[in-house]
């Protein structure tokens, strides 16, 4: 796979191809598998993504600790907010839904990780539903998202323990923004700007889950991560260009991750996890988990 987004964008431009095509061809070459087989694997991922969204929107799930659950359904059915009934609101509900399923030990697609698994399916399937986009183009979008994620894995990190939440929901926002920008007709260069615009908005984001559980704030951070992706897509498709190239934004994310104190890297030692309420909830809930034997 590519080690820079710039080289992938250049390849797409030279060969007059989409980034998804370039990604699928590179994967086929690297792994020695036919493109059809890779598309089938992505199609299966899409089925699981949709299943998790559907399951989460019902609203009857509670996480292992009981800390999260039911909020996806609230947003899904609400008529109160200024965006109620809009694709924006729908994307938020979908992101919460996937992450609530994840917290309840349901089946999801880690994309790129389980902790950041809500952003990509929410943005892609939400916008595809709003714009009547068919599954083949959604599969293309997943390939583009995979390419972006692979570049982040090469240049920075996709692990909250290594790079904080900027490496999980932040990377997911970049992947979703770039993939959706292509899906909605953006050029390869616009995809690059979308990635940069999304990731600049999540730089420095810490990983501070209560009790170390992938629950709080993870569920909500997937929703806000999806919102950042939507903002980036809106700007990139309007022709907004971000002056720092995506690869350099990604490098910055990696650099910040390395400098980040260990308290902010999935250890529950800092951030929201270390607040008085965070500590109290974690204590109560971990006791709950041990007692219920799960």
């Amino acid at each position: 796979m590519f080690t820079s987004l710039a080289s992938a964008i250049a390849a797409a431009q030279q060969e007059s191809k989409s980034l998804s095509q370039v990604a699928l061809e590179a994967e086929a070459r690297d792994q020695g598998r036919p493109i059809a087989e890779i598309r089938d694997a992505l199609r299966r991922a899409l089925v699981v993504m949709r299943g998790a969204i559907e399951q989460g929107l019902v609203g009857d799930l509670r996480s292992e600790s009981g800390l999260v659950g039911g909020d996806a359904a609230k947003v899904h059915h609400s008529k109160a907010g200024p965006f109620a009934g809009s694709p924006f609101s729908d994307v938020l509900a979908r992101a919460l839904a996937v992450q609530e399923v994840n917290a309840a030990m349901g089946v999801i697609v880690a994309a790129p990780t389980a902790g950041g698994a809500g952003v990509l399916p929410a943005v892609l399937t939400g916008l595809a539903a709003a714009r009547n986009i068919d599954d083949e183009r959604l599969i293309d979008a997943l390939a583009t998202a995979g390419l972006i994620g692979a570049v982040v894995a090469e240049r920075a990190s996709l692990s909250g323990a290594e790079g904080g939440c900027q490496a999980e929901t932040g990377a997911a926002a970049g992947m979703a923004a770039g993939a959706a920008t292509e899906m909605l007709g953006g050029t390869p260069a616009q995809v690059g700007h979308a990635v940069a615009l999304a990731q600049q908005g999540t730089l420095g984001l810490v990983c501070d889950p209560l009790g170390g559980l992938v629950e709080l704030p993870c569920v909500f951070r997937n929703a806000t991560g999806a919102a950042i992706a939507l903002a980036a897509i809106e700007m990139a498709l309007a022709g907004v260009e971000f002056a720092i190239p995506a690869d350099e934004v990604i490098d910055t994310m990696g650099e910040i991750g390395l400098a980040m104190d260990v308290r902010y890297r999935e250890t529950a030692g800092g951030g929201l996890a270390a607040t008085p309420t965070g500590r109290r909830l974690a204590r109560e809930r971990l006791v709950h988990i041990k007692r219920s034997g799960v």
Binding site: D30, M105, A110, A111, A153, R155, I289
Partner: protein, 242 residues
Amino acid sequence: MRPVRLTRHPSRFHRAFDLVSLLDIIGPVMVGPSSSHTAGACRLGLLARNLVGGTPERAHVELHGSFARTSEGHGTDKAIAGGLMGFRPDDERIRTALDIAEREGLAYTFEKTTLGEDNDVHPNTVRITVERADRTHVMRGSSLGAGRVVVSEIDGFPVEVHGNHHTIVLVAEDVKGSVARIAGILADDSINIATLRLTRKHRGGDAFMVIEVDDPPGEEVRDHIRALPWVRWTHRLDKVSS
């Protein structure tokens, strides 16, 4: 295949020559909540299971670092037990794996421990001792994020097995021509070698071979390798990635 340069991110735990696959990024399909603490843990359990050729009768699991600190809430214990019983990361039985283990005759113990200095050991590391019939093997491995894993030690030998390929590991006496002989057995069975690494503790000492192959080697391949007088033991570690 084109050469891949070293990653710019100076993470000691990042494999230098691993081609990142799209399907590693958009995947795995897995039971939540954590790709490192649940899916990766399950894969490490699956790899350890291979060492004894089936569900172990006894397993002792030593958890280090973040694995030790946050295992309950992530179901790390359930995921490892599930892997030891052959469940894959997307198997919903992982949720109740500890109960199933009792029924299946897998006696497990978990211990929170320190397997080394923080700078030397990946934060998500586990050492698993598995026993079945009269065989006992020890494996040490780490979960690297996004469900990717590495086995770093088997029975005291340093290895590097990622589970992205079917892998044959073997310990042999350090005899001349051993690599050619093994390669010949694989070639006879039309099995293509992806990578081959040879390590030994000292000259003339036991040699440890890690061979990643493209196709699953059959029973007869293992039997042929086992029949070689200078091979002490061999295992097949099945591919655990999607």
